[in-house]
């Protein structure tokens, strides 16, 4: 499997293949492939690099990892994900998402825009309530509201498409 690992700076591509119980073949970027001995348990991995002891703790179902207080993001890179990624970036102006989705299950309190409205970056478009707190979802790009997929009092699932914005011409 190929992953991108990010920690602060630029993501680095890492290829991992299992060779045995505690042995893995690892290639970082375009560097040489190396055999690495690492011990996995329910919470992560322990690896001795010479004397250096590295304990990786997984979080968030594997998408995040912690090494002594330092956060790493680990993303699986497969052809499908890479395609989706480039498509999404191509469709966005200023790097923002075209599609405003509900980041978690909740209830729509208020829809602040209608189809055809012009929106600015950072403008509030929908207020979602989750666990008694109201949260305003904002436009990540400037443009025109192409479609609205929710109304006040709707219960929505996490990931539900709420509003789609056509980006203004950059």
């Amino acid at each position: 499997m190929r992953y991108t690992i990010e920690h602060g700076g630029e993501p680095v591509t890492v290829d991992v293949r299992r060779l045995g119980a505690d042995r893995f073949l690892v290639q970082i970027g375009d560097g040489p492939a190396k055999v690495v001995e690492a011990h996995a348990d329910a919470f992560g991995v322990h690896l001795l690099d010479g004397p250096a002891s590295h304990r990786v703790r997984l979080a968030d179902d594997g998408k995040q990892a912690w090494v002594r207080g330092h956060a790493f993001k680990a993303e699986a890179l497969d052809p499908q994900a890479a395609r989706r990624r480039s498509r999404q970036q191509g469709g966005a102006a200023g790097g923002g998402d075209r599609v405003i989705t509900s980041p978690m299950p909740g209830r729509i309190v208020k829809v602040l825009v209608a189809e055809g409205d012009t929106v600015q970056v950072g403008q509030g478009v929908v207020i979602v309530e989750a666990m008694k707190m109201e949260n305003e979802l904002r436009a990540e790009l400037a443009g025109v509201v192409a479609s609205v997929h929710c109304k006040a009092d709707d219960r929505v699932e996490g990931g539900a498409r709420l509003v789609v914005i056509d980006p203004a011409e950059g």
């Binding site: 996995a40 992560g44 999404q88 599609v99 978690m104 008694k132």
Partner: protein
């Protein structure tokens, strides 16, 4: 002393109260919603009665069902924890009317302090300083504008019946005031069934410092130190500590005596917390009194060597406080981190099923969790899953110990705010002990070391860990994390945002 006490709550506070009940030899019983039949608080109880469906308005908040459960289970008293029915004077009265003991302050005190405007008038009469503002609710935007112009921007909008940041807005100008007033009233109505909101001057460089008070029914009243609660995000406390690095002994005594005066002004019995706003110039103003156990009470317990729940139970059973003010001596320093199931970027709640869990251990570490390795964090309730506390002989040690404790913590299956805590605990202003409630309003510095500074072995280890997690998921017939549906989008946004 009671044989059996019903804890009318769920999650970490129900578990924490039940632990002290067991430690006192009292049988703990509880109630649960249909969704919580096997929740941790039910598993820890000797008995539990289902009081309704998942929505708390139809279960945990239905006072008569809770009282009926207590009668059915033979409990002699009810402990409400915090939240839910804990500040409901009508419920407290109904408990007493049913012949049960209410482990909390007298209903009249709850009422007085529960209405912020009423509370302000009451304590002002006892000579307690309050924040400049107007002691009446506003609904008309023009009236709010007039008040704000009078006391000067910035102003705070606050729900009269509120607490915990709900229905609260800091506004810096007139358009924000108009917009914020509507939102604050709507939130207040939704959260408390009461849309009254008031306007208050916003104190500059404000510290949120609260005094723990404890009163018995025999006229004894103690203050048990302060807690510094200025590390807040959107008016929600994130990290608390005891003592406050901002308060010296003279100010501790002055604020403590004022807090006791405030408690006595409303005939208080039991554990309560008097919240103060302390300005950069050390002037302090009464904010509100929370007539219940506070979320962050463990830091006080660690420093003062008391069990506040034990004292609540003893006082409710009619016993006198076993301490005098001179007995209340601090030792060392304690810090608390609230662990929320929340997205680290959007800060939105992130419920789900916990698949693996390991808490920190060792000297100076206390864990109060509402979940275990097989719990599900439901969407319907508060997303706080645990509180981590550390004690140290001094503040620096307590903070380093918390960093170590966070590093020892593993929670898989849900997303938590542990990353936020790592950043707060290394934030220069926090580490120096020089911060006010604005500390989290500017972006936190990222982890100190960029990728380039990490040895290749660490990158390899992270990738292997991720790979092993994916293998495990594949063995269970699941897709690799982050490869399906909205998670990808959220994740990619996170990468860009980070």
């Amino acid at each position: 002393m009671f044989d059996r006490v019903l804890v009318a709550n769920r999650g970490e506070i129900a578990v924490r109260v039940m632990r002290t009940l067991r430690d006192l030899g009292i049988s703990p019983v509880t109630v649960h919603s249909e969704a919580d039949a096997h929740a941790l608080h039910v598993r820890m109880a000797d008995a539990s009665v289902c009081v309704g469906p998942e929505a708390s308005a139809q279960s945990y908040l239905v006072g008569e069902r809770v009282i009926a459960a207590a009668k059915q289970l033979g409990a002699q008293a009810i402990h409400p924890g915090y939240g839910f029915l804990s500040e409901n004077a009508g419920f407290a009265r109904a408990v007493a009317a049913a012949g049960l003991v209410w482990i909390g302050p007298p209903p009249k005190a709850i009422e007085t302090m529960g209405d912020k405007l009423d509370a302000r008038r009451t304590v002002e009469g006892a000579g307690v300083p309050v924040v400049p503002g107007v002691s009446r609710p506003v609904s008309d935007p023009q009236e709010a504008l007039a008040i704000a112009r009078q006391v000067g921007f910035p102003v705070m909008l606050k729900a009269s019946a509120g607490g915990g940041g709900k229905g609260m807005r800091l506004v810096h100008d007139e358009p924000a005031l108009i917009k914020g007033l509507e939102a604050a009233r709507r939130e207040a109505a939704g959260a408390f069934g009461n849309d009254a909101v008031y306007v208050e001057k916003f104190v500059v460089e404000p510290h949120h410092v609260e005094i723990q008070v404890m009163c018995d029914a025999h006229g004894n009243a103690l203050y048990i130190g302060e807690r510094e609660c200025s590390v807040q995000r959107r008016h929600q406390k994130v990290v608390e500590e005891c003592p406050s690095p901002f308060i010296d002994e003279a100010q501790r005594v002055a604020m403590g005596e004022v807090a006791v005066a405030a408690a006595k002004a409303c005939g208080y019995v039991g554990a309560g917390t008097v919240e103060f706003l302390v300005g950069g110039d050390k002037s302090f103003y009464f904010l509100e009194m929370n007539t219940r156990l506070q979320v962050e009470h463990p830091v006080t317990e660690l420093v003062y060597g008391v069990d506040l729940v034990e004292l609540q139970v003893r006082v409710a059973a009619g016993q006198a406080l076993p301490y005098t003010q001179a007995d209340i001596q601090p030792r060392g320093h304690a810090v608390e981190c609230r662990i929320y199931a929340e997205d680290p970027v959007t800060f939105l709640p992130s419920p789900g099923r916990i698949t693996a869990l390991s808490w920190p251990e060792g000297p100076g570490v206390r864990v109060d969790a509402g979940v275990d390795a097989s719990s599900t964090v439901p969407m319907a309730y508060d997303p706080m899953v645990a509180k981590l506390c550390t004690w140290g002989s001094d503040r620096a040690q307590a903070i380093r110990r918390m960093r170590r404790a966070l590093d020892e913590t593993s929670i898989l299956g849900i997303t938590t705010n542990i990353g936020l805590h790592h950043r707060v605990l290394t934030h220069p202003a926090f580490v120096a002990g020089r911060y006010d409630t604005g500390v989290l309003s500017t972006p936190l510095p990222d982890g100190p070391t960029p990728t380039a500074g990490q040895p290749e072995a660490v990158l390899a280890a992270v990738a292997i860990a991720r790979h092993v997690a994916d293998e495990r998921r594949a063995a269970q017939g699941q897709a690799p994390a982050g490869l399906t549906g909205w998670k990808i989008e959220g994740h990619e946004r996170m990468l860009r945002g980070g």
